[in-house]
């Protein structure tokens, strides 16, 4: 379905991707500024969407902006900072109920895009910089967000494993940067940085809904008309080739009940590699589904975990195995994992395991077409990975994967970092296994 986007270039080089469909009850828009992930700019990039969302020249504070959106039948403006491999993407989104359900006056697309445009291109300025108080406020919020990672122990464990594993690489940079980075940022620096990325970095604008194509193009051209460099700055692909010398083992103690184990592997398979689809199948057979080897062996047969699954960082060629376990069972669990990975290597995969995984992956892919933000995220993945896979291409690639190709993947997979978050010694109240 990604083939169905009509693609235009606005006069200033912004790419417009329009998907005309009456399937949804909404119109959805997303604007994405693509940047390289970098220690120097991570906090700056993360701050930008947060500060811009606070208000623009026309709607100078959140209260005014939100009231404007509410009158557009609760249109929702959202911002985000996305880490996609070694890309850092500044994201803005707007979703509104389609006018045919609200009896709205027919200007909804234009009104919505105008708000989005104002937030992005016409920020609230004071003395040639973003408003100081907004910058200060959003710095506080983001520092709080960085600290709040601790509140979700599973996510915390994953992030700790990844950052240790990729400490010397760009990928090791957290998407919100570091707390100390924020101290140094002034409202002037931030605005200066914004002017640069807005002018130089690649920008994609997605629009999905039951709309007139010509009108979308005309409206986008007139709203996003600010001047830009003729050619956008080139971005680098993620570095994949890191060699593992020895396995890094990390244990961290905390006052928790359940231990979280995260194993980080290098696959050495980039997003645009011939083995990419085989990697999807490998990860699926091993731990992507409730029928997968790890779920069946560790949870269903041994009763040693509530959750255990694999997860791919597809743009960086990494695979993780994450599990919530009793700390005392760590050795047992690791042995089962090792045995299952040995089976993958020797090709001991049943027809059912292989076929069910392929069907499950295809089902997931097709299901993404039923959700506008998933449709956008799918295409965005391709942009960040440097190859615009269509749904059909991926489906064919998954379906044609055989055991030989899975073994080729298995041979490349190397354990890099083993991380365990465990309860403080002597603090485990009881052990029910």
């Amino acid at each position: 379905m990604s083939e169905d986007y009509s693609i235009y270039h606005l006069p200033n080089g912004i790419r417009l991707l329009f998907l005309n469909t009456d399937k949804f009850k909404t119109i959805s828009m997303g604007l994405f500024i693509h940047c390289d992930l970098d220690r120097e700019t991570a906090a700056l990039n993360a701050l930008l969407p947060s500060v811009l969302e606070q208000g623009c020249r026309l709607y100078p504070d959140n209260l005014t902006l939100q009231r404007k959106l509410e009158n557009l039948f609760g249109a929702e403006l959202s911002t985000d900072i996305i880490k996609n491999g070694e890309r850092h993407i500044i994201a803005f989104g707007l979703e509104a109920a389609h006018g045919r359900f609200t009896g709205e006056n027919g200007h909804l697309m234009k009104d919505s895009m105008t708000i989005l445009g104002n937030v992005i291109k016409d920020p609230l300025l004071e003395d040639g910089a973003f408003r100081q108080s907004y910058v200060k406020q959003e710095k506080n919020q983001l520092i709080k967000d960085i600290k709040a990672l601790l509140n979700d122990k599973s996510a915390y464990a994953v992030e700790k494993c990844l950052s240790a594993m990729c400490a010397g690489e760009k990928y090791g940079v957290y998407k919100l940067g570091r707390i100390e980075d924020y101290d140094l940022i002034s409202a002037e620096d931030l605005y200066q940085h914004y002017q640069e990325v807005l002018k130089e970095n690649p920008i994609d604008l997605y629009v999905i809904g039951d709309l007139n194509e010509n009108e979308v193009f005309e409206t986008a051209s007139s709203i996003f008309s600010f001047s830009r460099e003729k050619t956008a700055c080139p971005l680098s692909p993620a570095e994949i080739g890191h060699q593992v010398k020895e396995v890094r083992v990390i244990e961290e103690q905390m006052t928790v009940n359940q231990a979280k184990m995260v194993l980080g592997f290098r696959t050495s398979i980039p997003f645009n590699d011939q083995l990419f689809c085989a990697l999807l199948v490998y990860s699926g057979v091993l731990g992507g589904f409730p029928h997968s080897k790890l779920f069946m062996k560790v949870r269903e047969e041994a009763g040693l975990a509530y959750y255990i699954h694999t997860r791919l960082e597809r743009h960086k060629g990494l695979m993780l195995i994450a599990a919530g376990i009793n700390a005392a069972d760590q050795k047992n669990v690791q042995e089962i994992i090792k045995a299952q990975m040995t089976e993958m290597l020797s090709g001991a995969i049943t027809d059912a395991e292989l076929d069910n995984t392929k069907r499950g992956l295809v089902n997931q892919l097709l299901s993404r077409q039923d959700n506008p933000s998933q449709l956008i995220a799918f295409h965005l993945d391709g942009v960040a990975g440097g190859v615009d896979y269509s749904f059909d291409q991926l489906i064919r690639g998954i379906e044609s994967t055989d055991i030989d190709r899975i073994r080729m993947v298995a041979e490349k997979i190397t354990l890099d970092t083993a991380y365990l978050l465990k309860p403080r010694e002597g603090e485990v109240v009881q052990d029910d296994n």
């Binding site: 059912a352 089902n363 506008p372």
Partner: protein
């Protein structure tokens, strides 16, 4: 074979819903959604964690359950004599799951191929229980892990700590999964007793949505249900304790490894529990308006609190209303729970005193309507919520109509009645010194 149906047209949403009644007393709903790749089905029973004391007419004695049975039963239905049910959905390329709430247990799948076979599998595994001593013992270990996982989940803990404070005796104060001790009391016999009661078709319903032909799907479901020879059962009488109006305690504090205190403020609703059907839904809509008008992102309070770094974007509120309990919750992460408490209580008071403007009321009404329509993009949202409303004897599709009916005066009156300081409790998680 053709079975009759009622076609419910909804103009506001531009949807056509097919309703079939299948003997003995089973409801089937089908909503065609042309163009969607995915088809989604959910099979639900009115059996949740609060249903832990019941009898079936003409029995006189109540069966009392340990906490966590509904959730335990949900887990156990996924295992039968041939093994794991997930595997059979996997063979069909479908994705299956289940969840247990306070008031219902639901089994579901979504599929982009093999829909009929997947539906057949859903009907089969939910209607063919298989519980043994061995499988029950193994599940006690797995659910023990799940309970432990939630003990480390600050937002889950702050939520249940609040319910434990708001309610003195009602079982909504107990964790849905129960405790390691309570699930240790579960036996195969107990599971069969609950199964035979609550999984009778007259206590269940199915909602199916996707690009499909309603009549054909209905015939498949009817043939399956009828083939199982379900008899009639007596009416299920659920026994809920008389919950006093006042709360258990006004404040509860727990220490956990968190970056910042978490604040949840709750108000016990003592009226909603007596309402059903559209009356209950009307109250829900009014409360959504009340809460959005006081605490929403477009109002003064939210923006002042945000500016003062007392809340973040995670600050939110929820009103939850069932047939025998209801409550309001407001909260999020904060640097200063005491100061936030003061400001929130003051804002409630100010709204009562100063009223709501017509502009405010209309603006929030528009927002709620738009938000509701937007959620209709999601097949899961439609199916899950339709049945949840249906089990409270209300019709989710009536929301736009009722939303247009309610008035500003009613909204204001409810703010005064329902956010009552004499029925409130505060739950706080404070950071432990652990680094």
């Amino acid at each position: 074979m053709t079975i009759s149906h009622v076609l419910i047209e909804n103009h506001a949403l531009q949807e056509s819903l097919y309703h079939y009644r299948i003997e003995p007393g089973f409801d089937l709903y089908i909503l065609p959604r042309p163009g969607y790749r995915k088809k989604y089905a959910i099979f639900s029973t009115r059996f949740g964690s609060v249903d832990n004391s019941f009898r079936v007419e003409p029995e006189q004695d109540y069966t009392e359950l340990p906490d966590g049975v509904a959730h335990f039963l949900e887990h156990k239905l996924f295992e039968d004599e041939q093994g794991n049910v997930f595997n059979r959905f996997a063979e069909l390329g479908a994705s299956a799951n289940a969840f247990t709430s306070f008031t219902q247990t639901s089994y579901l799948f979504s599929a982009t191929t093999n829909f009929e076979e997947s539906l057949g599998e859903l009907l089969r595994f939910v209607q063919e229980p298989y519980f043994t001593k061995e499988t029950v013992a193994k599940e006690q270990g797995i659910i023990g892990q799940e309970i432990k996982m939630y003990e480390d989940h600050p937002h889950w803990r702050v939520f249940f700590n609040l319910l434990e404070s708001l309610y003195r005796v009602h079982p909504v104060r107990n964790d849905i999964a129960g405790t390691v001790e309570s699930i240790a009391q579960i036996t195969p016999e107990l599971l069969y007793r609950c199964y035979n009661t609550f999984y009778h078709p007259s206590n269940m319903a199915i909602f199916i949505v996707g690009d499909l032909e309603p009549q054909r799907v209905a015939e498949q479901v009817e043939a399956d249900i009828k083939s199982r020879g379900h008899g009639q059962i007596g009416q299920i009488i659920r026994n809920y304790p008389d919950e006093p109006d006042n709360v258990m305690k006004e404040k509860v504090v727990q220490e956990l490894v968190v970056s910042e205190p978490i604040f949840y403020l709750g108000f016990k609703d003592v009226v909603a529990g007596r309402l059903t059907g559209n009356e209950l839904m009307r109250r829900e809509i009014l409360m959504e308006l009340v809460l959005d008008i006081i605490f929403g992102t477009s109002e003064r309070l939210y923006n002042d609190l945000y500016r003062d770094n007392l809340i973040d974007e995670g600050f939110g509120f929820e009103y939850s209303a069932e047939n025998n309990y209801a409550y309001t919750m407001i909260g999020g992460e904060t640097r200063d729970p005491d100061l936030l408490y003061e400001q929130v209580m003051k804002a409630i008071d100010d709204t009562r005193r100063n009223g709501i403007t017509e502009e405010q009321f209309e603006r929030h009404r528009r927002k709620i309507l738009g938000g509701y329509i937007r959620r209709f993009n999601s097949l899961e949202f439609i199916a899950n919520n339709f049945l949840a409303y249906r089990f409270r004897d209300s019709d989710m599709f009536e929301l736009p109509r009722i939303l247009q009916e309610v008035s500003r005066e009613e909204t204001l009156a409810l703010a005064a009645e329902n956010l009552n300081i004499s029925r409130h409790a505060l739950s706080i998680i404070t950071p432990s010194t652990d680094g």
